[in-house]
């Protein structure tokens, strides 16, 4: 009888401790976390997200495919080294003689590109148009990933950036599946991790920790050819405002209705 109760007590204790601990941390987090403050620290209290509207313009005419942006992003944000897992990457789009479009991103474009396409045998005949196309999260104004998140871990800030609260994310992968741009991945354990969390969704934040302190995103700062341009669209003299005003810009996959904040100049004609 006593042995039995001890056993029961032990079993109950073994079950109760992790349950209570989990409940406590989760409830604490749910009550304490204010989404707009998730990426911030005390130093940023002066930053007013409502006063900005961030925009990004990729000028593919300038991109030389050097891959510095990919490396800078990995270093700045502790993105896993796996070339399949990226916040930003560079693709080469080549129009083939038969009219199809070849898209390739060896090592996510982080190590530059060989002269000939890597995925095909050297081609006979002339190549068509080609362009390097840097890719990142489009920070959609109508982001599918935000509405479908079952626990509201992904949210849009007033200044137009889509962020992930990685303390709240359950790692279901629904946002990864819902993204038309392949901008998201699940952080694996045992390596670099942007916030030290594993098993959670991650993506480009426009380097939110930098832009809220007045700096440029790491990829923009490191770009040697001004292929990547970042700025406040509320400021008519910012580089993005000028490019949007003076050049013809397009967004990727307009047919899915996501209203991206990242715009492109000079994509191969076939893609327009």
């Amino acid at each position: 009888m006593t042995a039995l109760s001890r056993r029961e007590l032990l079993a109950a204790g073994v079950l109760a401790v992790p349950c209570l601990a989990g409940a406590q941390t989760l409830i604490g987090r749910a009550l304490a976390s204010d989404p707009t403050k998730a990426a911030g620290t005390e130093a940023e209290t002066a930053y007013d997200p409502k006063a900005h509207e961030w925009g990004f313009v990729v000028d593919t005419r300038n991109c030389i495919g050097c891959g510095l942006c990919v490396e800078a992003c990995k270093d700045e944000n502790h993105v896993p080294r796996d070339p399949e897992l990226n916040r930003t990457w560079v693709e080469r789009h080549t129009q083939l003689p038969d009219g199809t479009l070849l898209v390739e991103a060896p090592e996510a474009g982080g190590a530059g590109f060989p002269v000939d396409p890597v995925t095909l045998a050297p081609m006979a005949g002339p190549k068509g148009d080609s362009a390097f196309v840097p890719r990142l999260c489009m920070q959609c104004d109508n982001p599918p990933c935000v509405s479908i998140c079952p626990v509201s871990a992904t949210y849009k800030t007033p200044d137009g950036v889509v962020l992930v609260d990685q303390e709240r994310c359950i790692g279901c992968g629904y946002c990864v599946v819902s993204c038309p741009y392949g901008a998201r991945y699940i952080v694996p354990s045992g390596g670099d991790s942007p916030t030290g969390n594993a098993g959670v969704a991650d993506k480009c934040t426009f380097c939110y920790h930098r832009i809220t302190k007045g700096a440029q995103p790491a990829c923009v700062q490191v770009c040697p050819t001004r292929a990547r341009n970042f700025g406040d669209m509320n400021d008519p003299l910012s580089p993005v405002s000028i490019l949007i005003r003076d050049e013809q810009t397009v967004t990727l996959r307009p047919e899915v209705g996501t209203k991206p904040r990242v715009r492109y100049i000079g994509l191969p004609s076939q893609e327009l």
Binding site: G22, L101, V103, L120, I170, V177, Y181, G182, R184, N197
Partner: protein, 428 residues
Amino acid sequence: MTITLAGRTVQVGPRSAVRTLRGEVRAMSWSLRLWLLALMGLMAVGAVGALLAIPAGDEVFGTTPTVEWGLLIAAYVLFVVTTSGLCLVSSLGTVFGIEAFAPVARRAVVMAALCLMAGFGIIALDLHWPLRLLFGVVLSPSPLSPMWWMGTVYGIYLVFLIIELVGMFGGWHRIARLGGSLALVTAIVAPSTLGAVFGVLVVRPAWHGPFMPAYLLATAVLSGAAMLALLYALVARFSLRGHGPASERALTAIGRLLAAAVGAGIFLTAWQMIVGLYGGEPGSSEAAQAQLTGPLALQWWVVRVIIGLLIPFVLLVVPRLRTRAGIGIAGALVLVGLVADRSGFVMAGQIAPATSASGVVSDPWAVYTPSLVEVSIVVGAAALVAFLYTLAERYLDLTEPVAEHPAGSVAGSEVAPARAPADARGVA
């Protein structure tokens, strides 16, 4: 310490438990012992896989950012939709008063609860932070997300199923009826919310649209009828408790329903492919081509179409083949086909990589191979369902009380060592 079970006083304690367990194993036939032992082996393999899958972020699955949803999502869909199907089919007897289906209620509800728990277990292992989901669904609800609705509805569904089970085996008929009616409503809503999880994704043309909720609801009937066909063929084969003219009639009725559901499945599958091929819409036509001639073709033609639909249809409509065994085999084959159906449709939505513009020639198909961990979890979950159901068949009274339900209560006694004496139960 003692408890009273089925009118018998049972000693509960470590020593007496071992004694009773030994007695129970002795009382089993060799084939039953072998069956349970094999299932326990598979469960052990599944447990190893489950343990490997628990740490958040460990890359033990074959999934990639391109194919983020793999075998576990497919298995989850298979199990939870089967749950709905079992409730829908059993409601034909309990709610709609079709006499032939009356005997299936208890077996259907027990199997439904087991399948739902297996589904929940699989999805918990697929999620990296399942506990956060549990609290997140309540503390930060996000009603814009179909997945939130799905989680909520299936959670409520489990509660209703448990109420129905408790009422059923506790002899509280009104509670059982109430739980059954509520479970039926959620059984209809639940697979449609699951379909919506896939259907709302504009960027996955093979899933997008109102077809998915309807398809999952229709195939719920298919998988529920198939499961019951298999179970009732086994009841007849092994002359399990409650086997008699009523259960034979039920098997015939289930066979007819299954034939109709397979027919509907053939139509839906055919139109899904034909519509997919029209117009060459990126994503949609690629999904159809992948299944008809591409990397999913073997699985689609052989397992989903021939084994899962055509052979069962022949078995069910040709009078000479429509025997007890024929209906049971048809049920088993349909279930095998549904494994391919679920994994095929989860893959089809992701087979055309979304990471780049359309017309990509460099990577026409996304590649995904399930890891051993994923396979072992699914096999272990299926073995667990079979194991617990076998015990339920042996220790619970799964026959419908014909006139008056006996007073003996065996609520929640799946693990109880005491066996209710068969002769004291309401066996027809």
